[in-house]
Amino acid sequence: MLTKILSMANIGLKTENVEVEVNVADKGFPGFGIVGLSGKAVEETKERVKTAIINSDIEFPTAKITVNLAPADVVKEGSAYDLPVAMGIIAAIGEVNLPKDKAYFYGELSLDGSLRHTKGVFLLALLAKEEGVKNIFVPRMSANEGSVIEGVNVYPVDNLTNLIRHLRGEKLIEALKSVNVEEILSDITPEFDFSEVLGQNQAKRALEIAAAGGHNIFMMGPPGSGKTMLARAMAGILPNLTEKESLEVTKIYSLTGNIPPGGSLVRQRPFRSPHHTTSQIGLIGGGSNPHPGEISLAHRGVLFLDEFPEFGRDSLEALRQPLEDGYVCVSRAAGSVTFPAQFMLVAAANPCPCGHLGDPKKECRCTGRQVLNYQKKLSGPIMDRIDLHLIVPAVDVNNLMIDKEKACGEKSMEIKKRINEARKIQSERFKKLGHIHSNSDMKNSHLKEFAKLSYEANLLLKQAVNKFALSARSYFRLIKVSRTIADLEKSEIIKEIHVAEALQYRVRNDN
């Protein structure tokens, strides 16, 4: 008998219907074959399905079983076809009847017949909504991911036996209640606190601006001055994800299997800090079946590159286009895939190989050539895309000795409150524009409408651009940073003082 079951394939973030056709022939030599451009994990489906069916106390048919995954020209990867294949066989031998309404089956089987956490359930739920399919059957561990999509009944399945009972009508599985997204997003506590960082008040202020507007920031300073600590503390002051942003991030995390079992939406802004040995593909994304890289995993969050000049030159230069456009297009022989990459770059570096160039107390031991070679890595185009340039000096020992209570700066929560308010102003401003969430996302054409400068501010800006020979891109980025500073002070119009502060971070001391 022949049965057909719906499931899903994905190419990057694009999803597609897959029809799993199972034929159990009563004639012919017994065997089990899968066709339809299946990857290695799909080939192994045979063994899992066979054992799982036997262990669910159903007799596995001694017959010629042919499985076809249609359409045949789309590559199928992963283990999610276990459930549809198993249900196809069980239905074909007449153990159960498949549901009359269209339904998706998706999930990896364990040998004992239970279902394992499977990546991509969130994408499946989105596809179901798009296609108007009401019901999806997915592993219980991953079901929460799907339950945030309204209008789709997500049936959490523990094992094959339960699913068979459900389809026979003996013991129904209850569909999950759809979850209120805002409720999930509300309670988050920071893990690292800003008040633990001693001194460095200017750096803290710059990080606050960066977090409020989503601007890129570059920190340079001698070893041990607290660059890394500052960057890590930043995770605690990042503004809350909005509902829309959270859905975008969850999509990528579901695709890569980064959502833990039982998890639903991604609630915290991503903070990714790849090691400097990360390959170009690891950073940008790629592979023969393209996978998102670190920059996409940092979408709507922070990409922290510590020891910036130590990264491969190719990797760094590859960041140029995504930094500007907010997405990355990966083209391979199999096809081209676009991943979103709207991230905020936080980079940290030493000024020279020994780290003490420009340090008032310690002498730099590097030769001129060494310093030159080191700083060559920080190429002009990359530096031009960074809005805030920051020198993080070594901390004075007196500052460290001060009584802890006195030295304590602001708590992360207080800073975060200000940032959240600034973000609120921004999202109010960009309400009409779908894909823009923060000041740094603005395109140049938006500036006229959203970033009005006072007369004095305009004048100052003009002078500065002439004096420091700033590029056109720098000019626009300057206005965006000024906009954020104005937002932090809840000023409708950008004043001279806001531009002045933005300028102070813009101009690098070497030019």
């Binding site: 012919g28 030599f29 017994p30 001694t62």
Partner: protein, 124 residues
Amino acid sequence: MAKYKNYLKGKGGEEMAKEFLMKKGFELVEMNYENVIGEIDLIMIDKDWLVFVEVKLKVGDKFGTPEEMINKRKLSQVRRIAESYLVLEKKKVKQFKKYRIDAVCIMLNEDDTIKTINYYDNLY
């Protein structure tokens, strides 16, 4: 010694298969044909077909069914020997235009009585 015992058991299986197929109206051409490449259990005639038969015998189902023992590799082995037979024994096969590979899978009870005997035609 144990190997020899298995060999005898296999021989018995081929005997059973031969009788089973003869009852079906097959004619025996050769039994245990052997050349450099390997061995074919039975070569028989079914109407205008020349049939190469692979026989599998299992005692008890502890180690799975005999059907599971015939996989792609075994099949291609049989095919290779069959092809070499067609080349080497041109005189004998001249009158046949159609060839195929069949299988007989026999399962025995512990007391050597036949539990099941399954016949499959035209494997590929």
